[in-house]
């Protein structure tokens, strides 16, 4: 008997032992991205590192994509982590202008000898090499990026210009700031010579002292001698230290239990806001305070929406609409601010619980059935 128990224990321990085996599998490859401008006969050697994989794992190395025929490897297999070299030798001419992609693939090989019933996994990672082949004539790509700011702080615009044509261009960049389909301001850059395949990055700042808080559009327009100007659009926000109420519990059930009241708030500030909470005061039709309570407090990151919750006793209310004066308090820029809004909340009777009725009816039927059976039993006994 003791022998059997021990065998069982060993079996259980073996199972625990098996479950302790590390089941994490992974495959990493770097660099994940490389980018080259096409040059006739361009030759490059790129060293790739394979990592984060078991030291016994068989890995296959391969290439695919638009220009795969111009790629060679120093090896096509690896066992576990290691390095391999990719030899890129481009021809004198490529007929596909634009961004050509070459994928360098490393994949786990399946272990055909494993037996058993299971669903396993394998990972294949593909690093990309971009080869930018110039377009005929003049071709300019533009990308505009902006950042949000608080009122009074400058808004930074980053303008990225890439000449992707075989011809050099002269660019005349400008950025227009737009609100409600109206151009508010135009920022003009100096005229720039951009060589074929050259990439230049420009920066301008917008002063916001005279702007109102809100969301604006910035549109980069660059004349460069092409068929039409190159353009790029972005949105940015100018913030003020304010927390707005964007939603709240519009209906509350009259009940003996404590009721929750939720208020969704949104930060209009481009910095963190601390300790935002709300005080809610319910008023009757004569403006007399029925009840008041405070909600939970929360911190807000820039432009974040969040909900705060408060609890109150609704048993003093009757059916109908009540005014609620919601005052939001919050801290930012070393000051405590408040903003108030009066909203309307409807108090409703607790909805009739149909399930309760069903339970009562079923209970009654059951009771009647028992009484009937007892009555029959008593009658039978008397006879």
């Amino acid at each position: 008997m003791e022998q059997k128990k021990s065998v069982l224990n060993i079996f259980l321990l073996t199972i625990i032992f098996l479950f302790m085996i590390n089941i994490v599998s992974s495959l990493g490859l770097g660099p994940a991205k490389k980018e080259y401008n096409f040059e006739p006969g361009l030759s490059e050697i790129i060293t790739y590192k394979v990592f984060g994989v078991s030291s016994t794992k068989n890995l296959a190395i391969s290439v695919k994509g638009d220009l795969a025929q111009y790629v060679k490897f120093d090896k096509d297999k690896l066992i576990g982590p290691g390095e391999f070299a990719v030899i890129l030798e481009l021809p004198d001419k490529i007929d596909t202008p634009g961004k050509n992609k070459i994928y360098i693939s490393v994949s786990e090989e399946f272990d055909e000898e494993l037996a058993g019933t299971f669903i396993g996994t394998a990972v294949k990672v593909n690093a990309v090499i971009y080869i930018n082949v110039p377009y005929p004539g003049k071709y300019l790509d533009v990308d505009l990026a902006s950042h949000n700011a608080n009122i009074g702080e400058p808004v930074k615009f980053d303008l990225d210009l890439i000449s992707k044509g075989v011809e050099d261009v002269t660019a005349y960049p400008k950025i227009t700031v737009i609100s409600d389909n109206r151009i508010l301001e135009t920022l003009v850059f100096k005229e720039r010579e951009i060589l074929s395949q050259e990439n230049i990055k420009l920066r301008k700042f917008l002063l916001t002292e005279n702007y109102n808080p809100g969301t604006y559009t910035a549109n980069a327009i660059v004349l460069y001698g092409g068929d039409k100007p190159a353009t790029s659009e972005t949105e940015f926000k100018i913030g003020e230290l304010i927390v707005d109420i964007i939603n709240y519990s519009k209906k509350v059930v009259i009940d003996d239990k404590t009721q929750a009241f939720s208020i969704e708030i949104e930060s209009g500030w481009n910095s963190n806001i601390d300790d935002a909470d709300a005080k809610v005061v319910f008023l009757d039709s004569f403006g007399k305070v029925v009840t008041e309570f405070k909600t939970t407090s929360t911190d807000l990151i820039p432009w974040q929406k969040k909900s705060v919750l408060g609890y109150f006793d609704s048993s003093n209310f009757t059916e109908g609409f009540y005014d609620a004066n919601i005052t939001i308090s919050y801290s930012g820029e070393e000051q405590r601010k408040t903003s108030s809004e009066i909203v309307m909340v409807e108090f409703i009777k607790k909805p009739f619980n149909i399930m309760l009725l069903v339970y009562v009816l079923v209970g009654l039927i059951f009771l009647i059935a028992i009484i009937f059976l007892i009555w029959k039993f008593v009658l039978k006994k008397r006879k």
């Binding site: 321990l13 599998s25 994940a32 019933t117």
Partner: protein
């Protein structure tokens, strides 16, 4: 040797193995960190740090195993197993509540494709002709399906096939099935699932893959294996 001594030895070996496993895990994490760039302090001079991009894809749950079991015949004609805790009409199979879990631990986003080595028939009814492996009296053959979800909300802002593969059980895309192959390069790598699998810097970088099997009672016994391959392209 007493039985208690045997037990003690096994326990010590188990603990030692667990410690060894921990060391290996820490070592693996160390490997990944060395690639992400690390600036040493210098007395003077210009700091010029170039953080190289890397693509690191990890299956943190990479194996599913329901163990050995069978359809509860003659009461039922088939059994249903999935990784959301379902084990219906079967006997002895384990309940599995965790799907495969994929993480992007690199510093670039990835375009993701998934493929299985086998379809439902080749997985469950391998070597059988269609009429030998059906739900007796029914019309459906064996089923091998998947369904994707974000394990952390925001891990895949641009879902591909959102109304199918992300919302319901869909037949897996099997190797060699050109009708479901959507990979960007010429080699077939299966169905496109997520075009911007977020990198580790976002903190929202986990996708879950659940699997579902319908096993007919007349499926041949024996080992059944399938491998799901995740192909990630740096974007």
């Amino acid at each position: 040797m007493k039985n208690t001594n045997i037990l003690m030895i096994v326990a010590i070996v188990a603990v030692a193995f667990a410690l060894f496993n921990l060391v290996i895990t820490i070592n693996k994490v160390g490997d990944i960190k060395t690639i992400t760039g690390y600036a040493e302090l210098q007395d003077t001079g210009v700091a010029d740090v170039n953080i190289e991009s890397n693509l690191v894809i990890v299956f943190t749950i990479d194996t599913l195993d329901w163990g050995a079991g069978h359809v509860d015949t003659p009461i039922y004609k088939y059994a249903v197993l999935d990784t959301t805790g379902t084990m219906l009409q079967g006997v002895n199979w384990l309940t599995v509540s965790d799907g495969l879990l994929l993480e992007n631990q690199g510093n670039v986003d990835a375009d993701l494709y998934f493929e299985s080595t086998v379809d439902a028939h080749d997985f469950i009814c391998e070597g059988q002709i269609a009429s030998e492996c059906t739900l007796a009296g029914g019309t459906a053959d064996a089923e091998f399906q998947w369904q994707f979800s974000e394990n952390i909300t925001g891990s895949c802002p641009t879902k591909v096939h959102e109304v199918n593969d992300w919302s319901s059980w869909v037949d897996v895309c099997a190797d060699g099935d050109a009708t479901c192959d959507e990979s960007p390069a010429s080699a077939g790598e299966g169905r496109s699932i997520c075009s911007d699998f977020q990198n580790i810097g976002t903190g929202t970088n986990e996708i879950r893959l659940d699997l579902r099997l319908v096993i007919p009672s007349d499926a041949d016994t024996g080992d059944k294996q399938a491998t799901i391959t995740a192909s990630a392209y740096a974007v």
